[in-house]
Symmetry: C2
């Protein structure tokens, strides 16, 4: 479980020593912070999981607060990038709306909600948001601030094209996301990965109900 550093940073692999250790630390830190919370996460545990000495952690990332901030910033970026990559697959001129929206939903769940980045970020925000208001604000800016409007815009597009019957796209977007997450909190927040067929079922059921509410009749 030592993390394969090469697979993570797809950039220049010419400087493996410094970068790869730094990445290993960041990955380990993300895990430990998410599992134990900020206060209970020990630098030793992070160093051990990264396969690195404690001193190296301090050399590369500074103190615990800074390490935490860097981790959050990195994961926020990755998660945001993942989301907008998936968003490109949103159906614009579907021939079979339910089928295509279901496929998009499954993709969104898999790549931007169930994936480790999204999970850890959400859990961190829930766990530490109260004590790191700055973190909470940052997350809100990237999460609800950018993602929901983006979804709303796509839904509005579909509505305008006559595929959907929506009065308030922003509300529809929030409810769409809520329906997608229906069965997520229960099993997932614990850390267990969600099985593939579960994801498909969730996407199918959420999309079906969403279209019953907002589909053209």
């Amino acid at each position: 479980m030592k993390t394969s550093p090469a697979a993570v940073s797809s950039e220049t692999e010419s400087c493996p020593p410094a970068t790869s250790k730094r990445q290993a630390i960041l990955n380990a830190a993300a895990d430990v912070f998410a599992e134990d919370g900020f206060a209970a996460a020990s630098i030793d545990a992070i160093a051990a999981r990264a396969g690195v000495s404690r001193q190296t952690v301090y050399n590369q990332l500074g103190d615990k607060d800074n390490l935490f901030k860097v981790v959050v910033a990195e994961i926020t970026d990755k998660s945001s990038a993942d989301f907008f990559r998936v968003l490109d697959r949103f159906p614009v001129a579907p021939t079979d709306l339910e089928k295509e929206l279901t496929e998009f939903s499954a993709l969104l769940l898999r790549k931007a909600v169930c994936d480790p980045n999204g999970r850890w970020l959400r859990k961190l925000v829930e766990t530490e948001g109260g004590r790191f208001p700055e973190l909470f604000e940052t997350w809100k800016e990237y999460g609800p601030g950018k993602k929901y409007p983006a979804i709303a815009a796509r839904l509005a597009q579909l509505a305008l094209a006559g595929y959907l019957d929506i009065e308030d796209p922003a509300l529809a977007a929030r409810q769409y996301m809520a329906l997608l997450a229906t069965d997520l909190r229960i099993n997932q927040q614990i850390g267990r990965p969600t099985p593939e067929e579960e994801v498909d079922r969730m996407a199918r059921e959420a999309t079906k109900t969403f279209l019953r509410a907002f589909g053209k009749r």
Copy 2:
């Protein structure tokens, strides 16, 4: 905010001194555990907030693990009782379905989701569920295990009476709850109390969408 002890434990009120201090400790512990997480919550902070010496905490509740278990058990009970009290107000033979279901939704949000007990419990489960599998199991038994089926049964009743068009009541119940919680996670998990008119709006929007999906047409 010192808790009115009489209202809480409905048993023998002949011993106010011991019981009231014990209650103060339990309430303070619930707050601190929820705010800081189990690991970062210090007994000193709990004692201080309860207005009690640290020793008294140990005298009354034993060590930190036991204190935590008692707190969770107590809040679980209270939360469950609140929920089923609200459930009695579920409309069975409505004349105006949307109006009555909206009122019930608002009540449910107010008394069983937004209220401190429900909030703290959810946050504790999310925060500590991984490290206290037993707590997680207990919560699952009381939460999804009892509440969702209860909601499903009521919805099935309405469907059978011709008010709704539902194939899978269990799924409809989960989606109903998900819709209710649409805007909850964003603002609420931080600890801010949700304003009254917000709750009403959420109940109205969730119910409207739910009925668009599952109402008889």
